[in-house]
């Protein structure tokens, strides 16, 4: 970038800061957005597609959207090839191929994002607000000396965002006023990825290898192992129907009726903190402020009281059904359909009366 264009950019940035109520997201800056993507089994994750969907809101005719993929081996390149044609907004796919990115360690990843920013001078850097994005993005932001924004649910202007605070009991609009890049993680349920049409007329975006010759590793952490929970149910974060059980299930054995109902409806299984702490199910099924945030078409809560922290994770579901013995349980205040009754009687009856899933 020449000195004059740098100067011009500085002026435009300044003007942008003064123009507080700029009417639209588009700005005259010729800048790009970088999406930090994740891949699994040779494909982009659905949460990364949501990030692309969110990042495309920063696009205008003069700007571009770059997707960063890192890792090593054939599955990385397979994912890159698929990513190149998966969304019309993607201008280029950047591939960082190194053993250092074999595992999702924050230290090399944050350093990589830092390096990408030095090279690309992006206006925005976006990641999904999953455990990966939340781990890496703030570290990278600190290296770049900027404040990141967590869990964005709405992009109002190019640097003005809405995010939930206090377990979703308040919505806070924040404006980033610092220097480039503006970094954010997005709540994936708020930016549903458009379904990918394989026969889309858009040609594949170019794939570039990232030059890692200047990459210095912060080698003070090592990956040991990952323990994944095998499940035949759909993924909790993206399921259309979620069936959740709480403390009232009383045991891991009893929790199986929740799983049975989920199977019948082709639903994902969720749990409250109480159910997880009591050992009925493993923790990655926890829905709430500190667990997963879900927004399915149908959310059915059985034996869930509805604590603030649990509601935080499911309040944006389209239809909420609550079954609880206690007619005063707070869950009934957010439920569209409530049934006061014993779940051990209701669930078998539901299993009998619900139609087979389509």
């Amino acid at each position: 970038m020449s000195i004059s264009s740098k100067l011009l950019r500085a002026i435009i940035t300044r003007r942008h800061l003064i123009a507080h109520a700029s009417p639209s997201i588009s700005s005259s800056r010729h800048l790009g957005t970088l999406v930090i993507a994740e891949h699994e089994g040779g494909s982009l994750t659905s949460t990364s597609l949501s990030s692309v969907e969110a990042a495309s809101k920063f696009l205008n005719k003069d700007s571009s959207l770059s997707l960063l993929l890192a890792g090593t081996g054939p599955s990385l390149h397979e994912a890159a090839a698929k990513a190149a044609s998966c969304h019309p907004s993607i201008s280029q796919v950047l591939v960082a191929d190194s053993d250092k990115f074999k595992h999702p360690l924050a230290e090399p990843w944050a350093r990589l994002v830092y390096l990408m920013q030095q090279k690309g001078e992006y206006s925005h850097i976006v990641a999904a607000s999953g455990s990966f994005g939340k781990n890496v993005l703030p570290r990278a932001a600190a290296l770049l000396d900027v404040s990141p924004v967590t869990d964005v649910i709405e992009i109002s202007e190019s640097r003005t965002f809405v995010r939930p605070i206090y377990a979703g009991n308040a919505l806070c609009t924040v404006r980033y006023t610092g220097s480039d890049p503006c970094m954010l993680t997005i709540r994936t349920t708020s930016f549903p990825a458009a379904s990918v049409s394989p026969d889309s007329k858009t040609s594949a975006a170019p794939i570039h290898q990232v030059d890692l010759s200047t990459f210095s590793e912060d080698g003070n952490s090592r990956f040991v192992k990952q323990t994944t929970q095998e499940s035949e149910h759909p993924d909790l974060g993206s399921a259309r129907v979620v069936i959740t059980g709480g403390r009232a299930l009383k045991s891991a054995e009893n929790f199986k009726i929740i799983e049975k109902l989920a199977e019948k409806l082709g639903a994902a299984v969720g749990a409250t903190r109480a159910a997880v702490d009591a050992g009925y199910v493993t923790n990655e099924l926890q829905v709430g402020q500190t667990g997963k945030i879900v927004a399915p078409d149908l959310y059915m809560a059985f034996g869930v009281s509805g604590a603030i922290q649990h509601i935080a994770g499911m309040r944006d579901s389209k239809v909420i059904v609550a079954v609880n013995k206690d007619a005063d349980a707070p869950i009934f205040q957010v439920a569209d359909y409530g049934l006061v009754g014993d779940l051990f009687e209701v669930i078998p009856e539901l299993l009998e009366k619900l139609p087979e899933k389509k």
């Binding site: 990966f132 781990n135 600190a142 979703g168 500190t290 603030i308 059904v321 009934f332």
Partner: protein, 251 residues
């Protein structure tokens, strides 16, 4: 080895918050405030490590207005040895907190810095990662199990990640952030509360720590989330199935 624990004073987790009528924020006057639950877990872990003989001292630190001293006093009553209060405005963003923490780490030189994974007011989930980045220390975020190896000078950390657990090995010094399942925080007993009154709380300022307090973030407004429309109580499973099929069309 010293352990430093960062503590935040927040609106108590059980309080139903009220939004100020001028939309500038959430009402905090005359509202019950407590230690952020994740910070309690972080402190408990530090105390456990000290009790196992790995650490010699636990230092609790907090940034914010004068009332933070109450929260630090709670930390001292739980068992922290001493505390540092950095006098600062209540509306600090994580980047500023991370810079203050980095400065404190450089003064105290702990071998471990433990934080909660997020504060339940701003729900940012950033400070631990940011201070680790600033210090160039490895980070073990969302920790549900921490095992220290004295000889190798490493921490083995189980992390709660999407889809399961991940185990990392970190060279010390390191930054850890505590998840809910790391431990069960202890209650402060009355004798310990009395003892805590005589423990030292050092007061410092950002100027003394040579941290420039600037902000690159502003709050435009805080509003209530949209209310859900009132639901109905159905009387039978048949009615529920009927409503789901013919009214909500979700099954």
């Amino acid at each position: 080895m010293k352990i430093m624990v960062a503590i935040k004073r927040v609106v108590d987790y059980a309080v139903k918050i009220r939004i100020k009528s001028d939309k500038t924020g959430v009402e905090t006057t005359n509202v019950k405030m407590s230690m952020n639950p994740f910070c309690e877990i972080a402190l408990e872990e530090a105390l456990k490590i000290k009790e196992s003989g790995f650490a010699s001292e636990v230092i609790a630190v907090s940034m914010g207005p004068a009332q933070c001293v109450d929260t630090l006093r709670t930390g001292l009553a739980m068992g922290a040895d001493r505390a540092i209060h950095v006098d600062a405005p209540a509306t600090l963003f994580p980047l500023s907190v991370a810079k203050l923490l980095k400065a404190l780490v450089e003064v105290e030189k702990p071998g471990l810095l433990i934080l909660g994974k997020q504060a339940i007011d701003d729900d940012c989930n950033q400070t631990g990662q940011m201070v680790a980045g600033l210090l160039n220390w490895p980070q073990g975020t969302f920790a549900s199990k921490v095992v220290l190896d004295k000889e190798k000078n490493v921490a083995t950390v189980d992390r709660e990640v999407d889809g399961g657990l991940e185990t990392l090995c970190l060279d010390l010094p390191a930054v850890l952030t505590a998840d809910l399942r790391l431990n069960q925080p202890r209650y402060a007993t009355l004798p310990n509360i009395m003892k805590a009154k005589s423990k030292a709380i050092k007061k410092m300022t950002a100027e003394e720590l040579k941290v420039e307090m600037r902000s690159d973030m502003e709050v435009v407004q805080v509003i209530e989330p949209p209310k859900r429309k009132a639901g109905v109580i159905v009387s039978s499973v048949d009615e529920l199935v009927d409503k789901l099929m013919n009214e909500a069309h979700v099954i």
